[in-house]
């Protein structure tokens, strides 16, 4: 245990995802030794992101205004929605340049072990977007693991009876993994080869 402020910093860093106690300590001492100006830039960036960035009220992606860049772009098609788990998946799919429709970010996947059920995801909002009949196809791009598959099945069962075409990314993605780890070519191919699960 260190004294007051140092330990507070270590504790806060340790709460970040992917940062264990050892790394938290290493980062804390790195910051202690760094220039005051560098540390201020980091602190400003943290505050700035909290002040300026929020979630798009349509799709749940990160946004700097009420709507995100994708939702505001008039050149994109309103007929296709790609459903992903997290905003970082939007970035991964945008990199492929394969997709010209809109997104819907669920905010996770069905995961009973972590107490996440359908009601904890942005599913109602998704169904709301289908109401006016403009959306022709929904592409389910949840992660290629057990939880992502279960979520995709759950959504397909809800949406197929609504008369919309539902498709799932082709297999061939690294199994058991995260969408964001798939390289552009593989992900692009998974998009092209998506299969219809029901319409």
């Amino acid at each position: 245990m260190y004294e007051g402020a140092v330990q507070d910093l270590i504790d806060e860093l340790g709460r970040l995802p992917g940062v264990g106690p050892k790394s938290a300590q290493r980062i804390a001492f790195h910051l202690l030794a760094a220039d005051a100006a560098d540390v201020r830039r980091l602190a400003d960036a943290l505050l700035e992101v909290k002040a300026r960035v929020r979630f798009c009220e349509v799709c749940g992606n990160v946004a700097e205004s009420e709507r995100c860049r994708v939702c505001l772009d008039p050149r994109r098609s309103d007929e296709v929605i790609c459903v992903v788990e997290e905003p970082k998946d939007v970035v991964a799919i945008e990199r492929t340049r394969e997709f010209r429709g809109r997104y819907h970010v669920l905010g996770g996947a069905i995961n009973p072990i972590e107490n996440v059920g359908p009601d904890d995801l942005r599913i109602k909002e998704l169904l709301g977007r289908l109401a006016d009949g403009r959306v022709q196809e929904v592409i389910l791009a949840t992660d290629p693991n057990v939880e992502g598959e279960a979520t995709a099945t759950y959504l397909a069962r809800l949406m197929v009876p609504m008369g919309v075409t539902v498709s799932r990314l082709a297999s061939g993605l690294p199994v058991g993994g995260d969408l964001e780890y798939a390289d552009e070519v593989t992900l692009g191919r998974a998009f092209e080869g998506r299969r219809v699960v029901g319409r």
């Binding site: 009973p112 072990i113 359908p118 693991n145 057990v146 279960a150 759950y154 069962r157 199994v175 058991g176």
Partner: protein, 431 residues
């Protein structure tokens, strides 16, 4: 295949050791606690990335050291490869294949194949179903390495589904529509993956049955009628639902040559069973149907071996299971020996191992030199003289068999041509 070289650094009791091995039988002899099992444990680790004795890696690293290194040279046909494995507890192990970079350890799976029999295997007969499920699943993966992903996914689905059932139990009220449809999704996944696991297991068990019967008779010099049966949680669930006629004994057919049900059929049955068990599952907060609740029943002379068989019989059964696995994985046996004494309960005209038409998810042609290395840890001390001689005949034709013994006289001389003396962390080839 055979191992031509083994070297260890800080593995178990060994600071550093180098051993040149021969094809055919190799015997490691030394008093208790000298490090014989440690040697074969290291070899098993290279094949399976796990120890047959401990579930975590810490005890594998020599007390006081930080990591252990196991290097092996494996000869298959006219090709040799080296595998170097670095074991660092608490961190991901790393491996180097030939002269490549240190990389992921799981890339070494499949390079060395072993079948290891150790005294711990007695728990296959006497212990919980868990060990027997592992035996079947390990065989499935050895026959089809990519099935490992399926097994891991199934395991994950069951843990998710059980967590959901537990949270439903905690609610203690009628289930909401959302809960019901979430459960149905997990049911669908559990049935889909569970059926594939089950179908593969059943095919493995069908293939194993005649081999086990033959191997048991050979090691025990009897007509013990060692049999395997598959006890499925599916059968129990559906007969509870008063549909016994649908399933009674149908999961694994009585005839060892009959074709077991397909994955599609099993998926349907699993869904039915989960529907029939819903109230019970929610009440208990546990997933009650599926291959994770099944058992491989070992039967000797019509009685379950567990609880009935004598110590010696249990021991022979455990050994027979490993010898049968060895055969299934492409291991050789003395010409005709396995075939001649095949004692199938129904008196079939030809043994299954040669004339089977049952579908198999694996390819029986493992390629040249694919025969696994057979490892017999402390086996001979448990056998009487006649059985020792029989076992020696049985394993003598193996491409390579590694034998450990505390008492040299226990091992028939035919297996002692290549002999190593193991004394407190040193291994020397006896003249």
């Amino acid at each position: 295949m055979y191992i031509s070289h083994l070297s260890l650094l800080d593995f178990r009791s060994y600071a550093a050791v180098d051993v040149e091995l021969e094809p055919g039988p190799n015997a490691f002899v030394g008093r208790n606690g000298q490090g014989k099992t440690n040697l074969v444990e290291a070899i098993g680790y290279v094949a399976t990335l796990g120890s047959h004795r401990v579930a975590n890696d810490a005890p594998l690293v020599r007390a006081g050291a930080e990591r252990a290194v196991v290097r092996t040279r494996i000869v298959r046909g006219d090709r040799a490869s080296t595998v170097e494995l670095e074991i660092t507890p608490g961190r991901a192990n790393r491996a180097r294949i030939n002269r490549g970079q240190l990389g992921r350890s799981r890339d070494v799976l499949g390079i060395l194949r072993t079948v290891l029999f150790a005294p711990e295997d007695l728990s296959l007969v006497k212990g919980d179903p868990d060990g027997r499920r592992k035996l079947m699943d390990q065989l499935v993966v050895q026959l089809l390495p990519r099935a490992a992903g399926l097994l891991a996914d199934y395991d994950r689905v069951i843990r998710q589904r059980s967590a959901l059932l537990k949270s439903m139990r905690a609610l203690r009220g009628p289930l909401s529509g959302v809960d019901m449809s979430t459960l149905e999704v997990w049911n669908a996944k559990a049935a889909q993956l569970g059926a594939q696991v089950l179908a593969m297991r059943l095919q493995v068990v069908q293939a194993l049955r005649p081999e086990v019967a033959a191997a048991y008779d050979q090691v025990s010099e009897s007509d013990g009628h060692a049999e395997l049966a598959y006890r499925s949680s599916l059968e129990t669930a559906l007969s509870d639902a008063a549909r016994p006629d649908d399933v009674a004994g149908s999961i694994l057919p009585a005839d060892p040559r009959a074709v077991p049900p397909s994955a599609e059929e099993l998926e349907r049955l699993l869904l039915d069973a989960m529907a029939a068990m819903r109230a019970q599952e929610v009440e208990r907060g546990v997933s009650l149907v599926g291959p994770h609740r099944d058992d491989l029943v070992l039967v000797l002379g019509g009685l379950p071996a567990k609880g009935y068989a004598s110590h010696g019989e249990s021991w022979s059964f455990a050994l027979a299971l490993r010898l049968a696995s060895y055969r299934l994985l492409g291991g050789s046996s003395p010409a005709g020996a396995m075939q001649e004494s095949t004692a199938l309960p129904t008196g079939l005209p030809t043994p299954l191992s040669t004339g089977s038409t049952t579908p198999r998810f694996w390819n029986d042609d493992f390629g040249t030199g694919a025969e696994p290395v057979l490892i017999l840890d402390d086996v001979f001390a448990e056998l009487d003289l006649r059985r020792r001689v029989r076992l020696a005949e049985l394993v003598a034709p193996a491409g390579q068999v590694l034998i450990t013994a505390a008492v040299p006289d226990d091992v028939p001389s035919g297996l002692m041509a290549t002999r190593f003396d193991v004394v407190t962390g040193s291994v020397t080839r006896a003249a």
